[in-house]
Amino acid sequence: MNVDEQRLHLLIEESQDQQSDAMRDAKAVLPDLRDIASDRRKSTIITPDEIRALEASRVSTRAKLGMLAGAGAIGVAVSSLLASPVAADEALDIQILQTAASLEILAVATYGAALTLPFIVDGNAIVKAFAEMTMMQHDEHRQAFQAQCKALGGAIQENPNPKYKPIVDAAVPTLTDAAKVVDLAATLEQVATETYLADLNMFTDKTSLGLMASVMGVESQHLAVLRAVGALLAGGGEALIAIPTDVAALPAAAGSVSFPDAFQGTTMASPPKEGAL
């Protein structure tokens, strides 16, 4: 196995230190979150101005979506959202955060399931370490989304995403090699990345927006790594899944397979209500 175990251990430790720093930064804004939540709870009745702003936003967004003919799922999903009663939009931020938490819970469970499979446990050390680290990062994301949801006065979503859980449940028994695990994980990471991207311009709460942007970038990195790993596995380059890797031996495609477009799309985005309580 082309793995420098000691080096990997050091890298993971370093990464965990950085994670602690990031969490400390995140916790630093908790007093602000509590203030915001307090302000929002004091104002439980939506004002006429807010309704007018919401309606204007809906009309504008609907017009823009009309320009995205053929956009598929995202168009259907958001059109459905826009057809919802105004009352539902009062809690849109909370719905988004609950759905995000549901995706994180499912991701943690999926990586957890993968880490029970013998070809992951006893397979490529980097794939295993990535699954462990990524599971931990998703759990931190879950906690952050749940805390933010609570700060806004919402109920905490404790269950996995209802749309994708049955899909994952059906897929797990068919996972017979690492490539299939990587494919499944990549799908979940893409759904999360695109969901969070689509959510960005629906938020009214800026702190939630900042949190979502922060998590979105990390999910997109998970996706990038899984695309590269998947390509190496499919191309017989498993030995190159190492840290450090043999850069000279990497196929040219390894330099581009992880980011096929200059702009991220949202066709696989989950609508805010999908995992809402």
């Binding site: 680290m133 927006l209 191309g235 196929p251 495609a253 096929p260 477009d261």
Partner: protein, 263 residues
């Protein structure tokens, strides 16, 4: 080629980019950004910031590694991504012209475009250097990365310029004025692929952090979507550069803002 794992950033560039790009700080710096907009208007006739990328960079490298990986490129790459970006550019300009926050959005668009010019220039210079053999042997994956990243940053630059022009502002053709001389100095010291990759990683991290910090400040929903769709790609570039440099590719659980460019 095993690369070393030193991820130390050039301190001068880090210093230049230091300081969170907070909403408060951005608003406080609005005057400065306004001046930048004026400067951009005055400089619109400057020569465009493009470089000629020698095509030999990608073709001179040899490899015995599996080539089938190319065929496994994810087909999930959204065909609607470009359409979304096009639509976003048009509607962002409309919104920028109508919103109270249009000035803020315009300033951020200008800042973003300046960072994209810097990225395009730097990747272009790396391709030039590689073509002249100044970086030693360039692995095919690295050549492919640089070519792809340069093209994607060019697309992103074009999109921001579409937004700016549609809003009545001039195109941005010059790199970010604060970072450009520092990056140029750092690049002059690059002698191999590892050095080039480290510099590229730093630029991608700065761009990703800047977009992340700008998203809560932007007022136009379309500008937010555009910035987010680019932020993702920059994060992904950084992940692969980390992997190439022998670092863990996803080192942070939450995106950091400490390298965001302050306006």
């Amino acid at each position: 080629m095993n690369t070393n794992t030193d991820q130390t950033n050039d301190p001068s560039i880090v210093e230049m980019a230091q300081g969170p790009f907070s909403r408060r700080r951005l608003l406080a710096g609005a005057g400065f950004i306004g001046a930048a907009l004026v400067a951009a208007a005055c400089g619109s006739d400057d020569k465009t910031a493009t470089t000629t990328a020698p095509s030999t960079a990608g073709t001179t490298a040899t490899t015995t590694a599996p080539t089938t990986a190319a065929t496994t490129a994810p087909t999930t790459a959204d065909t609607t991504a470009a359409t979304t970006a096009d639509t976003t550019a048009a509607t962002t300009a409309d919104t920028m012209a109508a919103d109270d926050g249009s000035a803020t959005d315009g300033k951020i668009a200008t800042l973003a475009a300046g960072l994209e010019v810097l990225a395009v220039n730097t990747y272009g210079a790396a391709l030039d250097a590689a073509g002249k053999g100044a970086l030693g042997e360039v692995p095919p994956a690295v050549a492919e990365f640089v070519t792809t990243a340069k093209a994607q940053h060019q697309e992103q630059l074009d999109k921001w310029n579409e937004v700016l022009v549609a809003a009545g502002a001039p195109k941005v053709t010059k790199p970010n004025a604060d970072l450009d001389p520092v990056v140029a100095d750092a690049f002059s010291k690059v002698t191999d692929v590892v050095g080039a990759a480290k510099l590229a990683l730093m630029l991608e991290q700065i761009a990703a952090a800047t977009y992340q910090s700008a998203i809560p400040v932007l007022t136009s929903k379309d500008a937010i979507l555009l910035a987010g769709s680019i932020q993702i790609i920059d994060f992904q570039h950084a992940a692969i550069l980390n992997f190439v440099l022998g670092n863990y590719p996803v080192p942070d659980t939450f995106g950091k803002l400490d390298q965001a460019v302050a306006a």
